[in-house]
Symmetry: D2
Subunit: 138 residues, 4 copies
């Protein structure tokens, strides 16, 4: 483990200008897992009123990097990811949870689930994703 705290990880997220455009918050971090949450607003939608796939892909990309960083350290870069879109979301809160499935000192494979929590508490699966993160530390 890396000793990076939730507060330190939140500082990393706060230093990502693109997250200002999206507005996710880091609500859990450590021990090979991480969670981002996002309250859906009008700016997150596509032309049919659904959350844009790009928002889900952003959440998947970012949350898996944080999960991997909790075991590989802060000098990491995501190699890539695969996302499957499931049930379209129109509002509520998106909850993107990642965990490290397997890792070496240099690389981590992570799984992600994104759920949409409706204002009335119903939960739907919005997407699943997997991705690989590599350490750039020597």
């Amino acid at each position: 483990m890396t000793g990076i705290t939730l507060d330190q990880a939140r500082s990393v997220l706060a230093a990502q200008p693109f997250n200002d455009a999206v507005g996710a918050r880091l609500v859990a971090f450590g021990d090979g897992s991480a969670r981002l949450e996002l309250d859906v607003e009008g700016r997150h939608l596509q032309q049919q009123g659904l959350v844009h796939g790009g928002v889900l892909a952003y959440l998947a990309d970012n949350v898996l990097t944080f999960a991997a960083g909790s075991v590989l350290g802060s000098r990491v870069v995501t190699s890539g990811l695969t996302i499957h879109y499931l049930h379209g979301a129109r509002g509520g809160t998106l909850r993107a949870s990642a965990s490290v499935t397997h890792h070496t000192a240099r690389q981590a494979v992570c799984s992600v689930t994104i759920e949409a929590v409706d204002p009335d508490g119903d939960v739907h699966s919005s997407a699943i994703a997997t991705g690989t993160v590599v350490s750039t530390a020597r």
Copy 2:
């Protein structure tokens, strides 16, 4: 082919609120291909000054949906995508190009390349992606 024009496709992009947060423009559309361009600004970066992976994933998601829409029609939804991040970009213009590799009446598989064109004209591969789009028309 669907008869959707570039102007009509641009109207679809304009109706995506999330694209306002990103700022891509559709520069080509039709015959199974599409291209989005994005001038990199500070808001597109992550904490190390590189274009955020989520921006690249957004471009891949959106451009492959447009390419598929040019053969499947406007009632389409993207099932998912895989993106590989290549050379990190810090500025210039991103050029995301998609083409349909194979399609039936109901589904299209698309390939995407995202290149970064530096202000001095140098071109680097930023990402490659593949994805699947399905028609929701009856």
Copy 3:
């Protein structure tokens, strides 16, 4: 659900000539999940004595199709899959388990884990995968 029994699903596997070359057996089927097992033999290896990635990809492809078939019916075709290779296996038994994460009447998204169970009972993660299966029934 489809009413397909484990025995009927085993008949489908038995009707796949390529499975004769690999030798997997279907040990569970139904309710959106399936499991294939394979006893590793010399013929399954690559040049370094590890189980060939193609064997793992075969298991992932096949088990996710069975899991999807348990909810979509027997007329299905796999659209594609993503596999991440984890800990290399040299022997023992491979256990490929798939479950449907989300499905409509026409399409299912499945998750797969492949574990290697050593002769001494140790279990390692060999691969994770995700994939999409579509119904071809009218």
Copy 4:
């Protein structure tokens, strides 16, 4: 480049027991690309008489590893791959071609196309794939 010759690469393929079960041959290798060919026989099929997806996944896995090996050297391991199945094949010759899209000293991202060449010369796209290969050399 690595100086590995086509004959040396063929020796690697010949040292893969699992390829004996499949029967692919390496017909091109070098400069970031590789090609495997396979004459389709009854043993390669699934229950509907189509080439088994696992055969296509095997070809994709193996050919991208060879393409990457031509730039990274012989000590490589494939991290994972994504494959999209396109037009089902029933016979003829499968031609799996891979090329390195981008690489560093330690890692390569490759693209694969698999075409089916019918006995009468017609060519269909059977699959496209992308994958990542990492060097295990120090």
